[in-house]
């Protein structure tokens, strides 16, 4: 599915961009004892800028 968002990339001049991106419903596991699950789609309403992202 295509959506719009901001994203990090390897680029000396433009490491953070806004634009159209392709996202996938990757099966993920919450805990080792549980099965992998494909996801619900959700719409972010109030994301914030973290202090330690990727640090």
């Amino acid at each position: 599915m295509k959506t719009f968002g901001t994203y990090f990339q390897n680029d000396k001049l433009s490491p953070l961009c806004y634009g159209e991106v392709e996202i996938e419903n990757t099966a993920r596991r919450r805990l080792r004892t549980e099965p992998e699950k494909t996801a619900f789609s959700a719409k972010p309403y109030l994301p914030v800028f973290a202090e330690q992202t990727l640090s």
């Binding site: 599915m1 959506t3 719009f4 968002g5 901001t6 994203y7 990090f8 990339q9 390897n10 680029d11 000396k12 433009s14 490491p15 953070l16 961009c17 806004y18 991106v21 996202i23 996938e24 419903n25 990757t26 993920r28 596991r29 919450r30 805990l31 080792r32 004892t33 549980e34 699950k37 494909t38 996801a39 619900f40 789609s41 959700a42 719409k43 972010p44 309403y45 109030l46 994301p47 914030v48 800028f49 973290a50 202090e51 330690q52 992202t53 990727l54 640090s55």
Partner: protein, 343 residues
């Protein structure tokens, strides 16, 4: 961004991608269930994410191997969409003040785990000396040791994590003599808010030497620290605790910083019977508790908003000149979708 500029992000990307949608704190709407949720950000192939091993895998939405929140929509494991209290929603819309509080669910959950670790380790570290002092049973002495580890607490650094652990300690251990140490002026809104929330004391880190700063901290504490929590991300933390000796005998050093190298002279360290630990993670139960506590908190007061168009038109400029500029608010959020927000 630094990693991206240095071409070092590959391990952070979702499998098969050359980019990572950022954002790992926030509130989302789940259309298929017509409800709002906080995303349990950390998951993977571990039995307990606070004790994951080298053989286990780990991901973090918006930070490590999985896309995050700064997009019009995204996919999340359904079991990781945690419900929020009904009081946060009105007429089908998310109250803005509630949303502002809940954006701290991730760091607040981290600090709930820190508190748990301090309690566990403080108890194990000192129950035998409490037995020797009091003649109490082991069970009674363990309870005493937990209580006493918080007697004189230094929190070095006053970002949200420092503020939150101070808040949690004061809620549960009101007897704790708590001192924040940071660079901000005493009259800054951040310091005033933190002291108001916690009833703590404050030492501004602007002395000419480490020695003078250490003396000021001890004066404010009324003695050596029983507990020293580093959250500033700066090397001065461990110098004050160990070189300057602010951390006392049988004391606990909790490193929540990312970056500094903690060093110490093994001679006094061993004889002082001190303990250093570090742990950055949490379990689902911590985040559920964080959601409950935050929804009744005042932390919406420290969140500012940036216009979405202003941010997306030049996100690097927004980061460098607004969000992380000198004098920036403690936390900045963007209303990504206004449809279900009640102002």
């Amino acid at each position: 961004m630094k990693m991206g500029r240095e071409n070092k992000l590959d391990k952070k990307f979702p499998y098969g991608k050359k980019r990572l949608i950022n954002g790992h704190e926030g509130v989302v709407y789940v259309p298929s269930e017509n409800r709002f949720a906080v995303v349990l950000i950390r998951g993977g192939n571990s039995c307990d994410p606070t004790r994951f091993t080298e053989e286990e895998t780990y991901f973090e939405y918006g930070c490590d191997g999985a896309d995050g929140l700064f997009s019009d929509c995204n996919y999340y494991n359904p079991d990781m969409l945690l419900p929020i209290p009904e009081s946060c929603v009105h007429n089908g819309k998310l109250k803005l003040d509630a949303a502002k509080k809940l954006v701290f669910s991730d760091p607040y959950a981290c600090m709930l785990f820190q508190l748990e670790r301090i309690e566990d380790l403080g108890e194990a570290h000192n129950f035998r000396v409490e037995m020797a002092k009091t003649g109490l049973s082991e069970k009674e002495a363990r309870a005493l040791a937990v209580n006493h580890i918080f007697d004189r607490t230094v929190i070095f650094g006053l970002g949200t994590t420092g503020m939150f652990i101070g808040d949690l300690i004061k809620r549960k251990y009101p007897h704790s003599k708590l001192v924040f140490v940071a660079r901000s002026e005493e009259e800054s809104p951040k310091v005033k808010f933190a002291l108001d929330i916690t009833g703590a004391d404050y030492v501004r880190s602007n002395y000419d030497s480490d020695e003078l700063l250490a003396q000021a901290i001890e004066n404010k504490l009324g003695g050596k620290a029983t507990l020293f929590i580093g959250t500033s991300g700066n090397n001065i933390e461990h110098r004050i605790a160990f070189e300057q000796g602010v951390l006392g005998c049988n004391g606990l050093y909790d490193s929540f910083s990312l970056g500094p190298v903690v060093s110490y002279d093994t001679m006094p360290f061993g004889f002082k019977n001190q303990l250093i630990f570090g742990s950055i993670n949490f379990r689902q139960s911590h985040m559920e508790k964080a959601i409950e506590l935050l929804s009744e908190s005042r932390y919406d007061e420290i969140v500012s908003l940036i216009d979405r168009d202003r941010f997306t038109s030049d996100p690097i400029d927004a980061y460098e000149n607004i969000i992380y500029s000198k004098g920036a608010p403690i936390k900045t959020a963007v209303i990504w979708n206004k449809k279900y927000i009640e102002y």
